[in-house]
């Protein structure tokens, strides 16, 4: 078979046209597509409070925005609770995949690092499940919104309730990274302000600690009335279980789980968890709106149930998409800081948290609920776990704007 020069020319021109076509349409499509990257722990100790369930919730928010003239894609990745892995993925997502917003981002150490990347690259970081109050404090920036809760809120609500109930001497078991340090610091401030004393603390390696016996014995030896658990997820459940096995709780020492989620209670079982006091900003059985939301997502995330972090992921994504619809896709994609500024200007409203606002430092304001875990007799079935003790309105639940030392506020 012989090929003439014309054949080759025609062929190559055709190939070029064919090659260029899908590329161009892909480009045009990309300009009209918002890409959400859900970056969290998919395999480790925080997978129940984030993981794929958060992706389900982000998709639920996206579904509500179908047919609004722009496309939304959701990506997800596992940062393994390691800051270096998180930074790596965030950079690659932003540089190569055109991700516009990083959502969820469990684990405070990773969240702080990702927050810096989003500022550097001018993208949006909506944090829904990291705890450290530094995200809206000393290390706040114009590209970050901190949605669900923070260490200051937990410290005030749970810590404050414990002190009021007579727990005036404390010993902390603290996860040795940004979150644990922040939670211990914030809680200690409240204890001292209320006239209590902190007798000591022990820092446990994170992640990877499963045996807390030596730390619990040390805490018991301090003769503190309250052992404060400045940790989360599997760390907390392990501590609570092992404290029960050691008979610490039977001897009248109170365990304060400063940060606990409904999934942790589920894992512990009511027999062990009953009577624990904890703070969440969302409970699936709180009101009609929360039950409505839960019904929408629970089949997709079974056997898990939405915790406040999942609700935050949904609500954060929803509010961001609302903002995008308001300011236009091109403007939102071009300038992350502008998108966040717009998010702060528009009041929030969703099924999970009701009406709320985002403050200048990036703090989302909504009520905090103090719950007590039901006894097995009180519970009507699986996931019916909480009794509402107290509601703190959004304005009082979080650290006052002036006390956070956020550089955005000072100016």
């Amino acid at each position: 078979m012989s090929l003439s020069r014309r054949d080759i020319l025609a062929g190559s021109a055709g190939a070029a046209a064919f090659g260029a076509l899908p590329y161009r349409s892909a480009k045009a499509q990309a300009a009209n597509t918002i890409r959400i990257g859900v970056l969290n722990d998919m395999s480790g100790m925080y997978r129940d409070i984030s993981g794929m369930s958060s992706v389900v919730c982000a998709r639920a928010a996206v579904q509500e925005f179908a047919g609004r003239g722009f496309n939304v894609e959701v990506l997800s990745a596992d940062h393994q609770n390691r800051a270096d892995v998180g930074v790596n993925i965030a950079r690659q997502w932003i540089d190569r995949e055109g991700v516009d917003v990083l959502l969820d981002v469990t684990t405070s150490s990773v969240a702080l690092a990702v927050s810096d990347i989003c500022r550097e690259k001018n993208k949006v970081h909506i944090n829904c499940s990291a705890a450290t109050s530094d995200l809206t404090g000393a290390r706040c920036n114009a590209n970050t919104v901190h949605w669900t809760y923070d260490t200051w809120m937990c410290a005030k609500s749970t810590g404050g309730a414990m002190v009021r109930a007579g727990g005036d001497s404390w010993f902390f078991i603290t996860a040795d990274y940004a979150f644990g340090h922040a939670l211990e610091r914030d809680t200690s401030n409240f204890i001292r302000a209320a006239g209590g004393r902190v007798l000591g603390q022990v820092r446990t390696p994170f992640p990877g600690t499963t045996d807390f016996s030596s730390f619990l014995v040390q805490a018991q030896a301090s003769r503190a009335k309250v052992i404060g658990l400045a940790n989360a997820g599997a760390d907390t459940t392990n501590c609570v279980k092992q404290a029960a096995e050691f008979g610490i709780t039977r001897r009248g020492i109170k365990i304060a789980s400063l940060l606990m989620f409904i999934n942790d209670v589920h894992g512990l079982g009511l027999q062990t968890a009953q009577g624990l006091v904890l703070t969440e900003t969302f409970y699936w059985d709180l009101n009609d709106a929360t039950r409505r939301f839960t019904n929408r997502v629970r089949s997709a995330m079974a056997p898990n149930m939405p915790a406040m972090t999942h609700a935050g992921t949904y609500a954060g994504a929803l509010h961001y998409l609302k903002t995008v619809a308001d300011m236009g896709v091109a403007a939102a994609k071009a300038d992350g800081a502008a998108a966040v500024a717009r998010m702060k200007a528009i009041p929030t409203e969703d099924d999970c948290f009701g009406k709320g606002t985002i403050r200048a430092d990036g703090r989302k304001l909504h009520p905090a609920y103090l719950f007590e875990v039901k006894t097995p007799a009180e519970s009507r079935g699986p996931w019916d776990y909480y009794k509402l003790l107290q509601t703190t309105p959004g304005e009082e639940a979080f650290r006052p704007l002036a006390e956070g030392a956020c550089p955005l506020v000072r100016s």
Partner: protein, 329 residues
Amino acid sequence: MAGHSMTSSSSAPAGPQEEIFGFTKAQFVALLVMFAALVIAPFFLYPVFLMKLLCFAIFACAFNLLIGYVGLTSFGHAAYFGMGSYIAAHSAKVWGLSPELSILVGALLAGVQGAIFGWIAIRRQGIYFAMITLALAQMIYFFCLQAPFTGGEDGIQAVPRGHLFGVISLSSDMTMYWFVAVIFVACFLLIHRIVHSPFGQVLKAIRENEARTTSLGYRTDDYKLVAFILSATLAGVAGGTKSLVFGIATLTDVHWSMSGEVLLMTLVGGLGTVFGPMIGAAVIVAMQNYLAEMGAWVTVIQGVIFIACVLAFRRGIVGEIANLLRVRL
């Protein structure tokens, strides 16, 4: 060091092949291919990925200097890599040093650390040497976990890349890439120079038969110590560069699994070859990058590759290719 070493080792076999700048013909061709790849790659591949690859290539080359040419299997090289990483990050962030100085400070400290640890470790061989280096590295890990300046589990975050020589901003990935590429080439050529110097000949003699080298009048401990320090320093360069590329230094860099990873890279690429560690680093880093979605399976795959390497092609990728073509690479 023995004063007469230079004269006696210069008469060591130079090899029948003609050499270009100390490279055999095959090596020189491979070197040109490598330069071409270094120049072309950033236009097709993600520069940050390439920079990570180059940092690990430096690390693996430094490691190869010790395991491949002296026959010392260190199992604690993460200590020097991680220390270089932390010190460089701290210098750049807290002391505000320019990037080249930060890396230099990191490398020097890793070298000093290498001198102390090497002095202790080279007294033993084989498994004992590996265990001593591992034990010392674990001490460094614990130090990094507890020392206030390292930030514990958070690491040192938001490390600025800064301005090269105080002038050229490295914030763009492309500029940073060229900086890293130059560091890599410099380290690569330095290691090649060391290996092919009279000093390097003695190192290889130690690898082949230490007792005989001693009987020839070399103070082998001194040679081993110098090689150890050089290797540790270059590992520090790799760590320091990595921390500037990613803007973060964490415990991952000093963890013992990092020591295992660099061993794997060197073995996969080819022990004691010039280009092997680089190829090994490329294979492992690419795997970690492109298979990341498979989560924990990456380590399983790595393990399988390690076993396959040790069982089927013990010379490593480059070693097998060299053997096939009957050249030295």
